[in-house]
Symmetry: D3
Subunit: 133 residues, 6 copies
């Protein structure tokens, strides 16, 4: 049984790599490289997979929400991903990187009694979706 929970958050970012020239940045990241950044209403999906227990539940939903809200949503919501988030310092905050970092951070504090962390998916917009197993 796989359970997927969706968590929206709003944040801003600018795609810019200090390892590249300004011209290369514009070429690779296009409009996303504009100097003052822009923003999105992201939706984070967290999927877990496991057996259904005697009470008919695959996961302790309230504990899962506390973990995701505490580690990610409350720290990212209405923030600037380039400047406000410790684990994104010095990296280009593409949604690919975001997905990998969120997966890493959740895995690091994942309780042993939780079902398996199966998949992270982020909707940057409704038409641009990133997923890491």
């Amino acid at each position: 049984m796989r359970l997927t929970r969706r968590y929206p958050f709003s944040a801003s970012h600018r795609l810019h790599s200090p390892a590249l020239s300004d011209e290369q940045n514009r070429e690779i990241f296009g409009k996303c490289n504009h100097p003052f950044g822009h923003g999105h209403d992201y939706v984070l999906e967290v999927s877990v997979q496991g057996q259904v227990d005697a009470h008919g539940r695959v996961a302790p939903i309230e504990a899962l929400d506390r973990l995701v809200n505490g580690e990610i949503v409350s720290r990212y919501h209405q923030r600037n991903l380039n400047l406000d988030i410790e684990e994104l310092a010095g990296v280009v905050p593409t949604t690919e990187v975001l997905a990998a970092k969120i997966r890493e951070r959740l895995a690091a504090s994942w309780p042993a009694e939780f079902p398996k962390l199966d998949r992270i998916r982020i909707f940057e917009t409704e038409r641009n979706i990133f997923e890491i197993a």
Copy 2:
């Protein structure tokens, strides 16, 4: 080729296990344990998988709809899952259990000439999604 059809239905449920004390029920099921129940606009997704035939179709859509509507939607829509549905009698009608029972019931009357029943997915709400392969 995989085809997914979506079927909405509205129903009420109460999460409560007779095997547990009232306090345990409240602790495990939280607000979902309120005595008089609450409801959702569920969406059931049924996915089938198979070869495309000579007429360009992977499944007989009208026959599939008749099966799902007859076995599930017409019996669940605008009903109370705890009290109205034979196959849910005596179980806690979490959406995990619902997904497993729906899969079981569809499989039991699945015609041999249909493509393979691949996956059942239920959106309890837009943010709480359960899936069984």
Copy 3:
């Protein structure tokens, strides 16, 4: 300037009038009269109208959310509208009645410094929408 805020809540109801015979109830309310009730994921929209102030705001959004959550959402969410809600006791909890009662209850505790309460709208489902000015 008109501001609209959307507040989702899940609840169950049964459409049944004690003033009518069982047969009349079935005739008027159809499937919605099933004895054990069913449920919906309602969305409540509250619209206010007023002047934009010196800080660029038409309404104190956090105070508005506290009022709507306190008076309505926290009391209705995951409840049975027939049995759990004081102001709906003894009435048929159609969404028309719900809209009128919610408007009444919000108006009764509406702070003088808030902009005008303009419109209540309830999406019973995405395809069935009720509105009261």
Copy 4:
């Protein structure tokens, strides 16, 4: 006949008034005052109203799109509303102010042969909607 066209754009903003102390800014704008800003996927709705012409059209849709894209969408999309947009310089870029400024700017270049500009509506998120007639 009223025609409404929807135009999405992504932008970042920070709600902060130089006329207020830091403490007052935090009190009035809450999380929206975080120093580095955050972002949204806004949807701008432009509604026009008029008579249907001999060809069955109420508005020249391609010309309307060119106007809205030229004046607003191409200038706001993937930008920072505080720092990149001339007409928002020095104001607090709440969505109320945004709606009023967009209406003003469209009205200033509105061709005489267009139907009447009827209403501007902005979805800051799906649950927070601002409208100016």
Copy 5:
């Protein structure tokens, strides 16, 4: 109290006026003038307005659905608007014209005991919306 019901239907159309030259047709209707037509998943919204009756209802929903399905949805769904629909013969089936014709047809068979027909709205797509009071 205003009630809005939504009715989806899929149809094809071609925007072409026999009163215009081919070049004028292309200029006015653009891509919508392609010779073999194209299609949409339209959503028709019908809004009625009236008093809530003693049973808590503003409209007889099942009778309203029968009327709209009988007069419009069952006749338009999976049809070609230029060639299959009697009341659209010889006109350019823009969504403006569609809205006016649907309003006219519903009004012509509107039962006296129904609440007032208040508004017809058609979503040609999610971003292109037509409304007639």
Copy 6:
């Protein structure tokens, strides 16, 4: 890392096989066999899978969009699938066939430096979804 991009287009089609009698066509394709066709607002999803590069990107998004728009969207949008599209000539344009042909056409011009083409999914409507790996 898997990236999914969504591309909407509107088109019309008629399900009819010249290899079948009229009666067989009506039996197999039902309403979709109406002589003058009907239409949909399709959404095409293209998913790619690969490694995240040094700039934090899994795919060159602008080049991917150019490919999909050039090969598919600009050729299908506001067209008749039976009559306007070379690669669909003589086949029944079910969405199953559409998915297979789109996959084939994209694969044929897929640049070697792109990440792997992972999955094509088409939403014929929101409730009828076809997918090919």
